[in-house]
């Protein structure tokens, strides 16, 4: 292989990216060396097993990926603004929509939510860490290495270009001979390990580590949503793992699971992909529902309306989520019975979702609403999500779907549910729990600027797409003719996209601005919160709770505040905490090396990487470090400085 096949060449945009990546790397290395921060980076961050720090790293990685995916989106909008534009050629456009979709779902939405879950869940249930802190670090680092493996594809070897769904035969070896598709398979496979481990970890954490007295039906609703999400992860991700492995065999070792030849079944890929893919949609929406519930309840200053109905509707959604996958390929041509069945199950999901919408509205009813930034995102979510949901029911009608399928109507629909559901929730949750992560609030004024610009831009960008779809514009086309008459709506959509980009930049500036100028927290309870995470001190000590809280009902901290128990003094006891470990980051680096070798079919490299993975597992197996105890004196010292 020659060097110009190894590196992607010939495109000025890519050269620009090469230069900026090189400069950023040099800059980071220089700063770390100049300020002598390498040791700090290693001991405080790379080897940490603290759920709060892992959560922060998840969120930071997700914001970076949001930037990458957002740039992809703006490049696509630039190309589609006017007919017959020559900004991107078709291959480059295909690569960009593929990486946009994959990155936004797998490397932005999920890690953002999982990051917030990491920060919040142990605090909400009154625990000092997750059930398996070491595994949590493995989760983060495999996600991170998988994401990096996928991301380097655009400068080394070339990006995948078969769409984030990677349907065969297009994604097969014959029609996609470049290594791009291998990056997709290996990157998702490695990141998928992390997600599966996270699912197991949070399932056990929530079931086993709750503070004494907290019954299942007294858990905060975000904890409930995370529990159900974890269950879906545990059952859905193995399907993706198997499907990715089978396609990897097809591409690297010449098997015929999904090929056209020799008895392969190309549609089986679509089938397996969506058996995972539809539950995946609920994996990224249920935590969002949980966050909105917490935020709406806090800022309407009322107990959540219909708590039990909320829980049961999420359980029903989780069950139904495994029974609807065919609605992603109604046009495959299955018989009427198949399409009718999946059409009806899909429409059924609207029922529990509708229940939740009404519960939020009734929570707001007669509340004394505080319009903070987090609350604004939550309020904007309701009408926007309803638009996305109602058009979803339209798409659920199998016969009508033959018209909507693969048009911009669909693009508009899923952006309406994913952005106004998941992305709004990420922003709302970020503002809401930011004090727990960084011990200061995000600036409210800048936050509201972000909110208004982003929400206006979002609606301007995606609402016209419904009409573009009805006017017949297909998705995944890199250009269109002037005679199609789609230009004016596309111009509107691009303007909306630019506004969303500006909103994002203001958010990033807000992070910097608040870091410099925002007053530090003193109480740990900036929003007059209801659940236990607000009972922790500011900044949150690494052991979270000096005393394990006792729970006497729903909204535990609210009750404690009302009964005057919030600031009780009791004698401290030594706290057992897990030790840091360098194994997760090293193991994941070996995964990266192995995956990179497999992408290029350099088997010596992939085998060497796997041996490294195995070696780190053996080292871990013989590691008898059982953690350490925080002494009473140290707790007292901590508690004095934080009050």
């Amino acid at each position: 292989m020659k060097w110009d096949e190894f590196f992607v060449t010939g495109d000025p945009l890519i050269y620009g990216a090469d230069v900026s990546i090189a400069l950023t790397l040099i800059g980071v290395i220089f700063v770390l060396t100049y300020f002598k921060k390498w040791k700090w980076l290693w001991t405080e961050w790379l080897t940490t097993v603290d759920h709060k720090k892992l959560g922060i790293m998840y969120v930071m990685a997700a914001v970076m990926m949001l930037f990458r995916g957002g740039v992809d989106a703006l490049l696509m909008r630039a190309q589609l603004t006017v007919p017959d534009a020559g900004f991107l050629d078709s291959t480059h456009y295909n690569e960009i929509f593929t990486t946009h979709g994959t990155i936004m779902i797998i490397f932005m939405a999920m890690p953002f939510l999982i990051g917030l879950m990491n920060v919040v869940i142990p605090l909400q249930i009154g625990a000092r860490d997750v059930a398996y802190p070491f595994l949590n670090a493995v989760s983060f680092w495999t996600f991170f290495m998988g994401a990096m493996l996928f991301n380097i594809s655009f400068v080394i070897g070339g990006s995948p270009s078969a769409g984030w769904t990677s349907y065969v035969p297009l994604a097969g070896l014959e029609l996609s001979p470049s290594v791009g598709q291998n990056y997709y398979l290996l990157g998702l496979q490695i990141a998928g390990i992390g997600t599966l481990l996270t699912g197991i970890n949070f399932l056990v954490t929530i079931l086993k580590m709750r503070a004494p007295g907290m019954k299942l039906m007294q858990m905060p609703i975000f904890t409930w949503s995370s529990l159900i999400t974890s269950v879906i992860i545990v059952f859905a991700f193995p399907v993706l793992t198997v499907a990715l492995a089978l396609m990897t065999f097809d591409r690297l070792f010449g098997s015929h699971f999904f090929t056209l030849m020799d008895g392969g079944m190309p549609m089986l890929w679509a089938n397996l992909f969506w058996i995972w893919g539809h539950p995946e949609v609920y994996i990224v929406i249920l935590p969002a529902f949980g966050m909105f519930s917490e935020i709406i309840s806090t800022f309407a200053r009322k107990t959540l309306f219909g708590y039990k109905a909320m829980v049961y509707s999420m359980v029903v959604i989780a069950g139904l989520s495994f029974l609807v996958w065919v609605h992603h390929f109604f046009t495959m041509g299955a018989g009427g019975a198949v399409n009718s069945f999946f059409s009806i199950t899909t429409m059924l999901i609207a029922v529990p979702t509708g229940v939740k919408i009404f519960n939020w509205l009734f929570t707001l009813y007669k509340g004394r609403i505080k319009f903070t930034t987090a609350m604004l995102w939550s309020l904007a979510f309701i009408p926007n999500f309803v638009i996305g949901g109602v058009t979803g029911v339209m798409l659920a009608m199998a016969a009508a779907d033959y018209q909507y399928h693969n048009t911009y109507f669909l693009v508009a629909h899923f952006h309406y549910v994913l952005i106004s559901g998941t992305v709004y929730a990420c922003f709302a949750g970020l503002h809401f729990w930011y004090p727990k992560m960084f011990n200061h609030r995000l600036n409210e004024k800048l936050g509201k600027w972000t909110f208004w610009i982003f929400v206006a831009g979002f609606n301007l960008c995606f609402f016209p797409m419904y009409f573009l779809g009805l006017a017949g514009m297909p998705r995944r086309v890199y250009t269109y003719g002037a005679a199609d008459g789609w230009m004016s709506l596309n111009v509107l959509a691009t303007m909306g996209g630019v506004l969303m980009g500006i909103g994002f930049l203001i958010l990033v500036y807000n992070i910097y601005f608040s870091f410099r100028y925002s007053p530090r927290e003193t109480t740990g309870d900036p929003w007059d919160g209801r659940t236990l995470e607000w009972a922790t001190a500011a900044p949150v000590p690494f052991y979270n709770f000096a005393h394990v809280p006792e729970v006497k009902g729903h909204d535990a901290y609210w009750i404690a505040k009302k009964e005057g128990r919030a600031k009780e003094k009791k004698p401290y006891k030594p706290i057992h905490m897990p030790s840091n470990s360098g194994v997760p980051v090293i193991m994941s680096t070996f995964f990266f090396i192995s995956g990179f070798g497999m992408v290029f079919s350099w088997h010596w490299m992939s085998i060497a990487g796997l041996i490294g993975v195995l070696a780190t597992m053996v080292i871990r197996s013989f590691d008898y470090d059982k953690g350490f105890y925080v002494s009473v004196e140290e707790i007292e010292k901590h508690e004095q400085t934080t009050e």
């Binding site: 059930a131 399907v239 079944m265 549609m267 089938n271 058996i275 495994f322 996958w325 018989g335 953690g627």
Partner: protein
């Protein structure tokens, strides 16, 4: 937190036996598939049977199915897993026959 102070003094025989059995059953399935010369239907039946045996071994010897004192979660999980497995397998067969075979 890893505060369960279990003693790992005894040799994990059940794990070793389970591991060996899993490998033997897998190799046997391979042999049935490639070398046994049975009819295709018989091969499918035998391989599915071996898979069920192996799943049981895994659940008992590695997943500690019998060791938990809290049977409520166990039953719920197993039932839900069965539901998902049936939905995925039966659903896939139905869908991939394009609804033409009447199941």
């Amino acid at each position: 937190m890893a505060n369960n102070e279990q003693t790992h003094s005894h040799f994990p025989w059940s794990h070793v036996i389970g591991f060996a059995l899993s490998i033997i059953l897998t190799l046997f399935a391979l042999w049935v598939g490639f070398e046994s010369g049975l009819s295709n239907t018989m091969i499918v039946v035998v391989v599915v049977g071996l898979a069920l045996i192996q799943a049981t071994i895994q659940l008992v010897m590695f997943m500690h199915m019998t060791e938990s004192e809290d049977s409520k979660y166990q039953t719920g999980t197993i039932l839900y897993a069965l539901f998902i497995a049936i939905a995925v397998v039966v659903g896939t067969i139905w869908v991939m026959s394009f609804g033409m075979s009447h199941m």
